[in-house]
Point group: C3
């Protein structure tokens, strides 16, 4: 897994501008995660400035966590602009399956945009394929290793994207090749927006790698940082703080030592 460390070095050298249209809950923490790892975040959703901002950006992150009609319109417009400007886009369908609005909005974005990567939990990703009732608020009600792997493949095929289904084991698939990542800690579930941070971190890697590799690198790097943070602080407040410390401190050595990534298919 030495390529992940090298991808991280490339990211830090490039310091990519990552444009986020994201939810209000995680704006601050997303920006801090991106700064800590070495990217340059911008959070902006005004219709009038999307064209200017996306032109400057190296990647676009769309996160539907707190919707309203202006924001939905802004997201649709943004993915269209990104398509025209050939900028990579990652979508986080937060809470898809919990409400019809979220499922519908995610599907519209997938239709209108040229999305490179979709990252979500089991319930959210299942909802994109029409399976409702597996999301409660923004949490998945279900998770099963075998099903998660198949779900990643199915979402990838259905929408022509890289699909990352995160959970106890993460599965990343382009519909043909599928990778499993077993890093991380359950403490991530006790801090809000850690899923959203993962998405944004993958967004930063999209500026330096093709989407499948960017997804594997982003998830692995983020989750190893979380492992290190948890070893220093087993409680959620302190863990959260150390997570930024480790997004800053992590390097190829630590990744090589810790990465539990394997190709499970074909």
């Amino acid at each position: 897994m030495e390529w992940i460390g090298r991808a991280l070095e490339k990211l830090r050298e490039k310091k990519p501008l990552v444009h986020n249209i994201t939810n209000y809950v995680v704006m601050n923490t997303t920006a801090n995660a991106l700064l800590a790892i070495g990217a340059s975040p911008v959070i902006a959703h005004a219709i009038e400035e999307l064209e200017d901002m996306i032109a400057l950006a190296d990647a676009l992150v769309i996160n539907i966590g707190t919707l309203d009609e202006h924001k939905i319109y802004s997201m649709l417009k943004a993915v269209e602009i990104a398509k025209n400007l050939k900028k990579p886009v990652i979508l986080d369908p937060v809470g898809a399956g919990a409400t019809k609005l979220r499922t519908k909005t995610s599907l519209m974005l997938l239709e209108v945009g040229d999305i490179s990567v979709v990252r979500g939990n089991f319930g959210e990703m299942a909802a994109l394929l029409g399976e409702q009732g597996k999301t409660r608020g923004v949490d998945s009600l279900t998770y099963d290793k075998e099903a998660a792997k198949d779900l990643a493949k199915a979402v990838a095929k259905e929408f022509g994207v890289i699909a990352a289904v995160t959970g106890a084991i993460d599965y990343v698939s382009d519909g043909r090749r599928t990778y499993a990542i077993e890093n991380g800690t359950p403490m991530l579930g006790r801090v809000t927006g850690t899923g959203c941070m993962t998405t944004a971190i993958i967004g930063a890697f999209l500026a330096v790698e093709e989407p499948l590799k960017a997804s594997v690198a982003g998830l692995t790097t983020f989750e190893i940082a979380a492992e290190k943070a948890f070893e220093e602080s087993p409680y959620p407040g302190s863990f959260h703080v150390k997570l930024y410390d480790w997004l800053y401190r992590i390097d190829g050595e630590v990744i090589k030592e810790r990465a539990k990534v394997r190709e499970v298919e074909p």
Copy 2:
């Protein structure tokens, strides 16, 4: 006060979904406080998804900290839906008394909804009874033990709610029975949104206890966690971090040891 520890255990077992329509300043910290204690938070205000989301929720938290006309409409709609679905609702009238808009919005919510609990500081709660000029920004300009107790009773009677007036001593009343809670630390005043967190934590307890008990349990648990945090870190940044740690670590033993709750009336 052993029942408070038991209520906390019930909360952690149930992991209630707490739906928050809250202000932008505290969205992240509210979600983290709820996650730390063991609840499952969701922050959502799109009109189109309120029905779906409230149907899933165990309790609804309404916090008027940053208003605009869309949000007011969304809050009014939400309390109506919660009334129909018989979901418990807690209202935090942030800054009532500082501006007419905030006082008026709080009163509308109390009229339209079936609010279980209202939690505010002295100035905010006094404003609900028509006494203006006791709030400066979002802080109370005045506090007096005896007056606070009477205010809790009066608000409870006027609106048919459980009223929690927080300050140096907190008073919780249903209009007849009144409890005083003397836990906490002044350092809570140096971190933004700690009042809002208290409200959200009471919201989580509303999923497992009737409103009067939920209010006493929420305030006591939160304020003891704050005491423990302050003992570890007497400065606001570190204190804030430790507060989440202790919302996670606190248990029946710590509560039993520390709780300063007494029935003051009748």
Copy 3:
């Protein structure tokens, strides 16, 4: 530089109400920075309550970090009200130069309002004078000591304000007198919203000092707090936490020991 310590004492005694119309990314951290130093923050943008809130406030902070048309209208209205009520206003033109919307909005605010202080990085401040292309997202693409000094003077003269151009060395000018401040740490660049915090802290000093002194005092105090925080924690998550601790702990002694402020002109 003993006057800075005295200004800080005055600030803490007065506990000024600082009204912020700011971006969603930094609302929480701005409020916490203001609370830590000893001010009383309020974040509010509803048109309907601006008049009431600004009447109560000791200073107004306008930060254009996340715009939309409602917010622009609210900001324009707010600076008009502040002008009528003779309340000091500080403007943070976040991202000016990156998009036309941001540059244009900043210029409108300068035209409509009676702005006391403008604080921005090199790219943002240059954009106010018509030089585009020096901002990438919310970061400056360029910085040069000599140019920064001249830029501060030029912005001050052009708009009749105190201009603070922050960077490796900060320059504060009224167009005639110019001060250089060499405190701070590059780690500030790894935490989102530290520029916005600086602006808000200057806002708090505006309640107790005239604008030139308030700007010098705010920048110096904030950046020395950052130095102390960095000495305790060289990683961004922990540094961020310690920054609030030191905004609370800093006093005249520490400032006297550390301040690197000098008048460079005339």
